[in-house]
């Protein structure tokens, strides 16, 4: 992975000093809370429902074991020994002390980490495929692109006060695992007919209140022009994006207002001045960065491992886990695996200090000391030998990291919601837990098969509910928590936005509604169909009908439930 040179480290140290000074001036009354706000946000510090929250950057989801150990130590010394992985592959600490945040950033800097631009109206952490560099369907490793973008976006002097936040994702594989069309800019690494590598540029995607998929602004952009072209897009956005209404300030609204043709024309006109200037990316620089992502020292192994095959045959629990958690790898005899952070009863994406250390140890022992965070809020070990899988599974299981549910119903993406977030209209975590409890039978879960159920506690859509087969969105109605259900969303190459099925539900109704939707699928599916396929084949109507059938009964039950709670 990318290692800092002296200049990178010096810049980071200077950032820590700058932040320390800003906080000191604030505490001395020289810098007001309002003036501090954008400064602390660009260092990841939010003020949430119960106090501060610090969002630590994990650039494109890559971590070394040493960095994860540092996160574990920080979580113990400065928080409650828990961290939370987000859909931008970052880590949030939910209970840091406001005054201690400069110390935390200083600690992070010792392992080349920071919280730079993890919030604020600036270019945010770049995200990518969590199987980058090992995926069999990859055209090219996206990480050098991401690191080039990280350096370009870090402290970009012109774009630190944009109309709104700005998110960029990169995909370089046949199958998009980075939801690039749900980003302000999505970059897809492609080759043209001449075999030259470049990028296809999508712009104006985003979830939130107005979910829109990104549109192609350029079919093929030679790699060397990537930064100048992004400068042009950002400049058009910085100058003409709306600043009068935060809900209409994302670039997607500008693209929508101008139309993609006119937006594209403006970008091209701007780019004409920037093209071939000093920002043109040199091959020397790209290669310098690419050298930071060498293939690890793989052993020459046969594609299949007899021991692993035997273990699969003998141990059903292991086979269940492997079926969900072991992924293809471009090197024979190796696999990538996902360690699940979606155990029922634990907030999705949460990882304890003990688990962090266990994962770091696993990475050191079995996966060349590196790991990744997926935007689905799980941990990936990308380079493990098939012959080691059984041992990894046993260690993972004893650390609560081997729930065999990756890609299944209980592997929900879930934002922190109303329990922690001050933006939320409703809680997310208890809803996720209630749904997980409803579907806790493993055979049932595996029979239902692949399905994405995502939960967001408000319209900001951090839980990516729009791109889930079943999306759950918390809404506030007169001070009560209600949940709107969307159906038919997808990520990947056929990314699509789910549609609302009808009036929202009480919190206690949600698990039954999910079950009703699942039942329609189980009755109607053909042998090969996943949930989303059945929805697409038969349409939303049968699902809607079932979701609202017997609603009066459920409501009555819900009321009883509430009375019971009230009587306790």
């Amino acid at each position: 992975m990318y290692r800092y040179d002296d200049l990178d480290q010096q810049l980071l140290n200077e950032r820590v000093s700058q932040y320390r000074d800003q906080m000191a001036r604030h505490l001395a009354g020289e810098l007001s809370a309002d003036d501090l706000r954008p400064l602390r946000l660009q260092n990841g510090l939010y003020i949430q429902r119960h106090g501060p929250m610090l969002r630590i950057a994990i650039p494109y989801g890559m971590l070394s074991a040493a960095q994860l150990r540092k996160l574990a130590e920080i979580s113990r010394r400065y928080d409650r020994s828990v961290g939370h992985f987000t859909t931008r592959q970052n880590m949030q600490l939910n209970w840091p002390k406001f005054e201690e945040t400069p110390e935390i950033l200083s600690e992070l800097a010792t392992v080349e980490m920071h919280a730079i631009q993890t919030s604020g109206n600036c270019i945010r952490n770049i995200t990518t495929d969590h199987f980058a560099g090992v995926a069999p369907d990859e055209l090219s490793d996206p990480r050098p692109y991401c690191e080039v973008l990280r350096q370009w976006s870090t402290f970009h002097p012109e774009f630190a006060f944009l109309p709104r936040k700005f998110k960029i994702a990169v995909n370089a594989a046949a199958q998009d695992r980075a939801v690039i069309r749900a980003h302000d800019i999505g970059l897809e690494v492609v080759n043209n007919e001449a075999g030259e590598q470049g990028i296809k540029v999508f712009v104006g995607g985003g979830l939130g209140r107005t979910p829109i998929l990104g549109k192609v602004v350029r079919e093929f952009l030679p790699r060397k022009h990537m930064l100048s072209y992004l400068d042009a897009i950002l400049r058009v956005y910085n100058r003409y994006g709306r600043r009068d209404n935060a809900y209409k300030a994302r670039v997607k609204i500008l693209v929508q207002a101008l139309g993609i043709e006119e937006f594209s024309r403006q970008v091209e006109a701007e780019w004409a001045y920037l093209k071939d200037g000093p920002t043109t990316l040199t091959d020397t620089e790209f290669d310098r960065i690419a050298q930071h992502f060498p293939a690890p020292a793989y052993e020459k192994l046969p594609a299949e491992n007899a021991g692993y095959s035997a273990q699969l045959a003998e141990d059903k629990a292991f086979a269940n886990w492997a079926a969900r958690s072991v992924h293809g790898h471009k090197v024979p005899g190796y696999a990538a695996i996902t360690l699940s952070l979606k155990k029922t009863g634990v907030a999705p994406g949460d990882i304890s200090e003990v688990q962090m250390i266990a994962v770091a140890d696993l990475a050191d022992r079995f996966s060349f000391g590196e790991l990744r965070i997926s935007h689905e809020q799980n941990v990936v070990l990308s380079d493990v030998k098939k012959g080691d899988l059984y041992e990894i599974w046993k260690i993972g299981r004893s650390n609560g990291l081997a729930t065999p549910n990756i890609g299944l119903l209980t592997d929900m993406i879930c934002c922190p919601g109303g329990d922690l977030c001050s933006l939320a209209n409703a809680r997310s975590i208890p809803i996720a837990e209630a749904v997980q409890n409803k579907f806790d039978d493993l055979d049932y879960l595996h029979d239902i098969g692949e399905i994405a159920i995502n939960i967001s506690g408000c319209m900001n859509s951090c839980g990516h509910h729009h791109v889930a087969a079943i999306g759950i969105l918390g809404v506030d109605k007169g001070g009560e928590e209600w949940y709107q259900i969307t159906l038919g969303g997808q990520q990947g190459n056929s990314t699509s936005i789910g549609k609302v099925i009808g009036p929202s539900f009480y919190a206690v109704e949600v698990p039954d509604v999910i079950e009703a939707l699942i039942n329609v699928y189980l009755e109607q599916r053909t042998p090969q169909e996943r949930f989303i396929d059945t929805v697409q084949r038969i349409g939303a109507e049968p699902f809607k009908t079932r979701a609202y059938a017997g609603r009066d009964k459920r409501k009555a039950a819900a009321n009883n439930e509430e009375r019971k709670v009230a009587n306790v």
Binding site: D5, L7, Q10, L11, E14, R15, Q18, Q22, R25, E30, L31, D35, P38, L39, N121, Q151, W152, T154, F155, H156, P157, E158, F159, A160, F161, L162, L227, R235, N238, R239, R243, Y273, G277, P278, T279, L281, T282, T284, E285, R288
Partner: protein, 169 residues
């Protein structure tokens, strides 16, 4: 006279910023004479008269105003002001770069309005070289903030070569 940050120091300065008061129009407003930053609309409407006066001339841009409007005029100005109505309004950073990098303006670019010391480093990088700080800001600390970072990744006005071109050398 007030103090501003300029040329790496704290200096006294007598430039005034003209803002149209209620009831004043572009055509009728009395021009105060030398060392005044005029609203863009006044400059555009009364260019011949202002040039004929032979006095030191400046103009200031609102954050929404396009510097292209003065692209052909920049040689007339001693100072161009860029207004930051709120420090979180980042349009002025682009305006400054356009004036320097596209329209070839070499005179002073002065940040006016909600100018806070924590924004000075990025402003400097975008070609702003004078800063009329908000009244509550500490000028010494503001001056020091211009040296917050010793390096920068991107190409900008103060360093036209991105770090990667200099790193490789």
């Amino acid at each position: 006279m007030s103090e501003i940050i300029k040329n790496g120091g704290i200096v006294s300065d007598d430039w005034q910023v003209l803002k149209l008061a209620e009831g004043e129009s572009v055509e009728s407003v009395v021009l105060p004479g030398t060392a005044t930053l005029l609203p863009l609309a006044v400059w555009l409407a009364r260019k011949p008269e202002i040039i004929a006066s032979g006095q030191k001339t400046g103009v200031w841009l609102e954050s929404s105003e396009d510097p292209a409007a003065i692209a052909a005029d920049v040689a007339h100005f001693t100072v161009i002001g860029i207004d930051f109505p709120k420090f979180t309004d980042g349009r002025g950073y682009s305006s400054a770069r356009l004036l320097r990098e596209r329209y070839g303006y070499c005179g002073e670019i002065r940040a006016i309005g909600d100018v806070l010391l924590d924004q000075l480093f990025y402003m400097k990088r975008c070609g702003i070289d004078a800063f009329a700080l908000r009244a509550d800001q500490n000028p010494e600390k503001a001056l020091a903030s211009l040296a917050t970072f010793s390096e920068s990744y991107q190409a900008a006005v103060d360093q036209p070569q991105p770090l990667f071109r200099r790193r490789a050398a």
